[in-house]
Symmetry: C2
Subunit: 233 residues, 2 copies
């Protein structure tokens, strides 16, 4: 037999350990210098291994980056979920804005990671499929709040122009059959608009324009909540 250790052979355990070490070091460089300056050789150097050895774990630099992208999505998702849970028994609008503020806070704390996932997608044009579930986590937190409001008496239906009805019905049928189509359409827009607010602040578009960004953002988020139909505090 063998060492009868934890599980699945020491070989496999070492592999995931080294993989994690590489990602950690890479994440550090990403946070410090940005995705553009993330260098495989520097990561290998810091880990005391030959640069070529790193290719046993990630077939290319882009693959390392997409791994970091997934981690970033999950980190942001966790932050959003944690914020939702701390405000579990507040009103719907309050819960919405609390999560919005958590997203903003995460972005300000991890600017380069945020740029990696919501800025220009550096590698190719279309995101790899692995990123989709991780990316959906934040959105899921928001839809959960909307869903709660819908089950209680806290959701007003936004107006839905006739021209947009087919698309709204399609989106609702596919992603949230239990929610009114007008709500789903309004939510998708608010979802994108929220990240417009965060991105503008983070990428310097608000420099010399918005000063008190904290309160500005909070009220913008509140207006987004109203736009989705969240009415009670």
């Amino acid at each position: 037999m063998s060492t009868a250790q934890g599980a699945k052979g020491a070989r496999a355990r070492a592999r995931i350990e080294v993989t994690a070490a590489i990602k950690d070091e890479a994440r550090g460089q990403l946070a410090a210098e940005g995705a553009a300056k993330l260098s495989l050789r520097a990561v290998a150097r810091e880990l005391g291994m030959a640069s070529s050895a790193l290719y046993r774990y990630f077939p290319s630099r882009d693959d390392l980056l997409t791994a970091l992208i997934i981690d970033a999505y999950n980190s942001l998702g966790e932050a959003a979920e944690a914020a939702r849970d701390t405000a579990a028994d507040a009103g719907h609008v309050r819960r919405w804005t609390v999560v919005c503020e958590a997203v903003r806070a995460w972005a300000l704390a991890h600017p380069h990671e945020y740029a990696l996932i919501y800025g220009s997608p550096v590698p190719g044009y279309t995101a790899p499929d692995d990123t989709i579930p991780a990316a959906a986590r934040v959105a899921y937190v928001f839809t959960g709040i909307v869903r709660d409001a819908h089950q209680g008496p806290g959701l007003a239906k936004p107006p839905l122009p006739a021209e947009l009805r087919p698309e709204a019905h399609r989106m609702a049928a596919e992603f949230a059959p239990d929610l009114p189509p007008e709500t789903v359409a309004a939510f998708v827009a608010a979802w994108a608009e929220l990240f417009g607010l965060v991105g503008f602040e983070l990428f310097g578009q608000f420099n010399r324009v918005v000063e008190d960004r904290e309160t500005f953002f909070r009220h913008a988020a509140e207006r987004l909540a109203h736009g989705v139909g969240l009415v009670f505090p």
Copy 2:
């Protein structure tokens, strides 16, 4: 004296000519492959000059990039202005959405340029001062529409929470003393939110989510107009 030619000596003319050629070639590479793959050496190669000669015109790669950034802002600004002029005598909401759609169309037509200016700012953290006036052009088109509505009877005042009043007054005093503070605050938010919508579509966040993006965007833009207080069609 001199050659009595067009102006300021042939030397200077040649310089701006070569500078333009470099920018053109660089813009081509940017559009084709993205900012990450823009290579000074490739530009020089394509122009038939030594790569070191290029440094007579742009002290560094980042300087070339910021030149392209300014050009991109101006190109987007021109597109917005042109759109505004084509709808000169439509209602305020219609003019607003027409300009929004022009911004979106420009972004879809120049994805890498858009990513360069509204995606992650690649060079440093703060944008060079030269970019500010160019960046303001688009915003100025929108404020022009809002101002027109304000001078006519087409502008409703959005609600302004007490907490946001100081900031709204400050922004209004600084940028648009002729507009109500509540309008200015709502506009700044709508401005950022608009680019959230465009960015999400362009960067693939709407993949598998929004199908009929044209009409989805149009109505989202309309709702933004209403949020700012634009009421008449």
